[in-house]
Every structure is written in structure tokens, then in C-alpha cells.
């Protein structure tokens, strides 16, 4: 497929690896922020191609993974109601709540439907005026425009039976948290390309400056990732800490203004709990007052619903790059994609899922620094 296959050329990848090798004089830890990048790295074995002194650390960029367990419990409680049609992206269905998950609700007869787009859920609401249709609006800045559009469209069509259960998180405050953590090991960052396509790059220079880290906005294919790593290593070796853009074929400095405008119209920034990590100030989105009629949490009165996390799951450490999935004692034993203890094992962007899918059978050598 165009704009995919040509960025997977192994010969060109080998050239990038050689160029990185030629640059490196000392060990560096580079965090890729986005779970989509993590999957690409693990799938194509990019971490294994790099010189051993370059260590890739997987970051918190998986919105499914950081959705708090009580919100999954709320989703389960709402989806189980007979009057509700609960619409969700597919990878939320197996995410474990404290006692159940959406897949189980579906198998017990709940009307849980997988949709490809939040606008599909608006259509379901229009076609089922006698039912209450709830969409699980999960995501980072990349899906916020689509979710804002669905709410605005339901409003425009005057649909009184459509609402959203919002679990929206923002990347820059999470990066602040990772970089401010005591004992931080991250030297440089690959920023998430599609988040920046929407939001632009203007939030990053203060972060790069404050924490003295190079930040390179990077795309998702092997050649992109290798070029992004090359750019970070070059900055580190030269003692620079600037914001650069590897993904210039898509990302403009100002981002996508129409998308930003609608997100601001529908959502407001608020404090937010991240599963396994804790509350990060001003790191999430909630509906604005004007759109409160579309807030499923208000409509279904699920205040107080929510139980504890599995005590065996270490996903908080995995999401902060402090533990490799394969180092978790439950990995592949008591925790598998069919029987997950944590969200990182089931999400398409979860690090545990990536290692389970692509690395389970390989005897991975320890990645020395």
C-alpha cells in the first residue's frame, strides 16, 4: 500500500542502522511515546537492529491501557442495562475491569456493538430512537476530533438518546510526568506523530527546554522510526535538546486547526487518573457544560461504581518504561490476551500485547546498556 510499503524497505533500514551505529559514542535511552510505535518496533524488531548502547523504552501512549479501571466498571454497568446499546472500539471489549469486562456483558446478552467510528454510533442512535445509545469515547488527541464530531453531530441532529462515556487523555502532561519522575532514565523522546498531526508541535519546545531532552516528532513505519532515532541520537551526541519533525509529510507546526477548534468547543481540559500510574494534573478531557446532556456518567448515575485493579498486574511500571512486559511474572502464564490481567495485554497499542504477539517464542537476549 502506498505510503506504507516503501517505508518498510529492509535495504534502506540497514542503511539507517549503519548511520546510527556510526554516530553513537555512549549509551542512550530513548522513549517512544506512542503504543503504535511500540508495536511497530517490536513487530519489525527495530530494537534488536540497533547497537546495544541504544535502548528503546516503551512509553505511556496507549489510551486503552490508561483508562482507569473504575471507568471500565462504569462501562460494564451501563452496557448491562436492558435499554442501552453500548458502542465501542473493538479493543476495549476485553479490557479487564475489577470484576468483568464488556465482552462478558455481550456474551450474557448485553447489546454491545463494535463500531469503527464514533459517527457510526450516532447513526445507531438515530436508527433506534427507543433505546439509549452510549459510545465509549476513549483516546488521545488523535481520536478527540472524531469523538467531538460525534457529539456535535448528535447535538445538530437533536438526538436525545445518544451519550458518550469519556476517557480522554492528553500526551504532553504525561510526558511531563515521565520526565519529572525521580530517577528518570529517559534521555530523548520520539513524540507521537499522529497526536502532533492534530495538535501541532508548539507544546513541545518548553518541555524539551525544561527537561533538556531532544524531542523528535516521528511516524510509525520502520524507516520513519529509524530516522527519528537517528535524529534523537544526533542531538544527544551534539549536546542539543530541540524539537524536530521527522514526520513532515503529515505534521505541520500548527497542527490541524479545524480539528482543534471543535475539540475545544466540545471538551475542556481537566485532571485525570491514568490506570496504573495515578492522577496527572490537567491531563484529560471532559465534556463542557454546554454538552453535559451527552455525558453518560451523568445520565446513568454511576458515581461510586468501581473496584480494585488486579494486584498482580504491573502495567503501571510497563507504561512508564520501568519494566519490560517479559519481566512481569504473570506475562504469558496467568496473563494472556484471552485471559488478561491488565489492559496492556489486550490493547492494539499495549506493550504486553506486542511482546506476546511478536516475541513470545524468541529467547530475547538481555538488552544491555
Amino acid at each position: 500500500m502506498r505510503f506504507l510499503d516503501e517505508y518498510r524497505d529492509p535495504v534502506a533500514a540497514g542503511k539507517w542502522v549503519a548511520a546510527i551505529r556510526a554516530l553513537v559514542t555512549r549509551p542512550w535511552n530513548i522513549m517512544e511515546v506512542c503504543g503504535g510505535q511500540t508495536h511497530s518496533i517490536v513487530r519489525f524488531g527495530i530494537d534488536e537492529l540497533l547497537p546495544p548502547s541504544i535502548r528503546l523504552i516503551h512509553g505511556p501512549g496507549c489510551p486503552v491501557c490508561v483508562t482507569p479501571v473504575e471507568l471500565i466498571d462504569k462501562a460494564v454497568a451501563i452496557a448491562a442495562r436492558p435499554e442501552v446499546i453500548f458502542c465501542s472500539f473493538g479493543d476495549m471489549l476485553r479490557v479487564p475491569g475489577s470484576a468483568s469486562d464488556l465482552f462478558r456483558v455481550k456474551s450474557l446478552g448485553g447489546d454491545v456493538r463494535i463500531v469503527y467510528s464514533p459517527l457510526d454510533a450516532v447513526k445507531v442512535a438515530e436508527e433506534n430512537p427507543g433505546r439509549k445509545v452510549v459510545f465509549f469515547a476513549v483516546g488521545f488527541e488523535t481520536t478527540a476530533p472524531a469523538n467531538a464530531l460525534a457529539v456535535a453531530e448528535a447535538h445538530r441532529r437533536g438526538l436525545g438518546n445518544f451519550s458518550v462515556l469519556v476517557s480522554h487523555v492528553l500526551v504532553p502532561p504525561a510526558l511531563e510526568a515521565v520526565l519529572s519522575a525521580p530517577g528518570r532514565i529517559v534521555d530523548g523522546l520520539l513524540a507521537a506523530g499522529h497526536v502532533c498531526a492534530v495538535m501541532g508541535t508548539e507544546e513541545y519546545p518548553p518541555i524539551a527546554l525544561r527537561h533538556r531532552v531532544p524531542i523528535v516528532v516521528t511516524a510509525f513505519e520502520p524507516l520513519d522510526l529509524l530516522e527519528g532515532i537517528h535524529m534523537v541520537v544526533k542531538q544527544l551526541e551534539e549536546g542539543r535538546h530541540e524539537v524536530e519533525n521527522q514526520y513532515h509529510r503529515l505534521v505541520r507546526a500548527g497542527g490541524n486547526r479545524p480539528a482543534q477548534d471543535l475539540v475545544k468547543e466540545v471538551f475542556r481540559v481537566k485532571d485525570r487518573a491514568w490506570r496504573g500510574i495515578g492522577t496527572i494534573p490537567m491531563s484529560g478531557l471532559g465534556l463542557r457544560e454546554d454538552y453535559a446532556a451527552f455525558d453518560a456518567e451523568g445520565i446513568f448515575e454511576v458515581e461510586g461504581v468501581g473496584g480494585p485493579e488486579s494486584p498482580d498486574c504491573r502495567s503501571g511500571l510497563v507504561l512508564q518504561g520501568l519494566l519490560k512486559p517479559t519481566e512481569c511474572p504473570a506475562f504469558g502464564t496467568t496473563c494472556t490476551p484471552d485471559n488478561p490481567l491488565g489492559a496492556t495485554m489486550v490493547s492494539n497499542e499495549g506493550a504486553c500485547a506486542a511482546y506476546y504477539r511478536y516475541r513470545r517464542h524468541s529467547q530475547e537476549p538481555a538488552h544491555g546498556v
Partner: protein, 74 residues
């Protein structure tokens, strides 16, 4: 969800949602192009959750290969 993929715009129907058909290889999907008001048939857009988030700049897309070629020159 962050796995936005590039697809080629086949056609666009103007309207409040600016719905267009976008081809991802052999699979064609209906996508809202309201946030990419300039996207026209033939353009490549990156799509997230059924919504186009940005248009690929084809001239800049070639630059990654250009950089590689320049690095190889002595």
C-alpha cells in the same frame, strides 16, 4: 486507535460531515473529511476512527529517501 492509516480519497460529498470514500488498499470506507477541507480525490489522508486528520504532502514524503541518498554520498 493511534494506528491511523493512510488512504486515498476516491470521492467527496460536500455537506456538514463532508463524507468521502477512502481506499485503504482494496478496502473502501466512508470517512468524514470535515477536518481536511482541502482534501480532494487522489489525495492521501491519514484516518483515525473514521475521520481524516491530515493530508499527506507527497513532495515531502519523498524526503526520507532523499536524506538517505545524501548520507551515502561521500
Amino acid at each position: 486507535m493511534c494506528l491511523g492509516i493512510p488512504g486515498k480519497v476516491v470521492d467527496v460529498e460536500e455537506g456538514p460531515l463532508r463524507v468521502g470514500r477512502v481506499a485503504f488498499g482494496d478496502v473502501v470506507k466512508e470517512v468524514s473529511l470535515v477536518f481536511v477541507p482541502d482534501a480532494a480525490p487522489g489525495d492521501f489522508v491519514v484516518v483515525h476512527a473514521g475521520t481524516g486528520i491530515e493530508v499527506i504532502d507527497e513532495a515531502k514524503a519523498l524526503r526520507v529517501f532523499e536524506t538517505l541518498r545524501l548520507m551515502e554520498e561521500p
